[in-house]
């Protein structure tokens, strides 16, 4: 394994553009150290990026907030900008990891690692977050909804890294919110089911709804078809069976050591019904 410590972002990107091997990145290290321990990482180019300033910090630019990929969960939890504009996101973060991991764990690492159970993606999906991807060719913005393409697969090219997450400061404005992570215990648990939701309801009618799930597909995703059905519907006209039918096509839970697929499906359905104020 070849170890590199690029002095800045340019040097890192240049290295990546000529790299022939698989690239690994050490940011906060909370996940990759587990992979090293389990000997999942054998050969490749290893880059220490945790001190690259251009990838760090929470900055407001006009109507957007840029969260650098290296921003830690502790920094997000303690940030005034986040608590002012994204209280829902900040509350969601209290369900992640443990106080010992939030010190080091980064938002970019959580996303780039691409686990189907990663905690931060469902709330970011309902906030219509964008990712800034950077390479020597420049920066491109992609919506988080299109970023993941399969199990631990994404749009990231081999010479590209996540520079940061971009959120509109209006993203949470006027919505009722829900973030629910279901696991075997409260802290330090891997989600069996995660649901993030935003909704606006006026006079018994759903004006707008956004729903995203984690741990139920190959990657966390928005429930587009269900949103389509629910948008602009009177709550009293909602048909539980229709929700069930649409949901069964949008999520593909599996049975594994943490839970079984029937449980996961039922819990997801019930959480959605609860969020809509419907008895299950």
């Amino acid at each position: 394994m070849q170890f590199n410590k690029p002095k800045d972002l340019n040097e890192l990107l240049e290295n990546l553009s000529i790299s022939q091997k698989k690239n690994y990145f050490l940011a906060g290290g909370t996940d990759i150290n587990v992979q090293i321990k389990k000997e999942f990482i054998k050969d490749g180019n290893f880059y220490y990026i945790n001190e690259i300033d251009e990838l760090n910090g929470i900055k407001r630019k006009n109507e957007k907030v840029h969260v650098g990929a290296l921003t830690t969960y502790r920094e997000l939890l303690e940030s005034d900008t986040i608590s002012e504009h994204f209280p829902f996101l900040q509350r969601s973060l209290t369900n992640f990891a443990s106080p010992l991991l939030t010190t080091m764990a980064t938002i970019g690492g959580n996303i780039a690692n691409g686990s189907p159970t990663n905690d931060v993606t469902p709330p970011l999906l309902v906030l219509d977050a964008e990712l800034e991807l950077i390479s020597v060719a420049g920066i491109r913005n992609v919506s988080l909804t299109s970023f993941f393409t399969g199990y631990k697969k994404s749009l990231l090219k081999k010479d590209e890294i996540i520079k940061g997450v971009v959120l509109s400061i209006q993203a949470e404005n006027g919505y009722e919110t829900l973030y629910k992570k279901v696991g075997a215990r409260k802290t330090l648990t891997i989600a069996k089911v995660a649901l993030a939701g935003l909704k606006k309801i006026k006079e018994g009618k759903i004006d707008e709804i956004k729903l995203a799930v984690g741990s139920l597909n190959e990657y966390p995703r928005r429930l587009d078809k269900l949103e389509e059905y629910l948008n602009n519907i009177m709550i009293r006209d909602i048909n539980k069976n229709t929700i069930d039918e649409i949901l069964s096509k949008e999520i593909t839970p599996i049975s594994d050591l943490r839970s079984d697929k029937e449980y996961r499906y039922r819990v997801c359905l019930n959480l959605i019904l609860s969020f809509l104020g419907i008895n299950h």
Binding site: K5, T30, N33, K37, Y48, P99, L100, T187, L188
Partner: protein, 156 residues
């Protein structure tokens, strides 16, 4: 590579592989055996230390992360005034049984007392949620932390 950092208040320089775990550096290079390895995956908290004043699981921190930073372990923190008071509190409620997890609980509690210290059970539980004890159960630990919160307030 050469790693320079402050260990329990002392400046140190170490020749180390960049990915060597802080946990191993503490135990092998400095013989600080208070910091324990249990799960080695960041889930149990037995290896908790403070890195630049913030709690981390040292099994997931690498030598290169530590360069230029401040590391405080149970050995250093237990010699401070706050640390000594905290040991007394754990003692009084018989919070410790086998002791393996305790350096981690000690460091997490130390951080909590220094940065919050509110006598609220839910907050205490959250602050210690990264540390797992497999023998005493948590009630006595929470009891002693509550006593420590009260004493720290009086001390101020």
């Amino acid at each position: 590579m050469k790693i320079r950092f402050t260990l329990n208040g002392k400046n140190v320089v170490l020749e180390s592989a960049p990915l060597k775990r802080l946990l191993d550096i503490l135990r092998e290079d400095y013989h600080l055996f208070g910091t324990k390895e249990s799960c080695g995956e960041g889930e149990c908290g037995a290896c908790t230390v403070l890195l630049d004043g913030k709690p981390v699981t040292s099994c997931l921190v690498n030598a290169i992360h530590v360069n230029g930073k401040k590391v405080d372990t149970v050995e250093g923190l237990s010699k401070t005034k706050l640390g000594k008071m905290l040991i007394d509190c754990f003692d009084e409620t018989n919070a410790v049984q086998c002791g393996f997890c305790f350096p981690g609980f000690f460091v997490s509690t130390y951080y909590y007392l220094l940065n919050d210290g509110d006598n609220d059970l839910e907050k205490i539980k959250k602050a210690l949620s990264g540390n797992i004890c497999r023998c005493t159960g948590y009630q006595r630990i929470f009891d002693s932390v509550k006593i420590a919160c009260a004493r720290k307030k009086v001390g101020e």
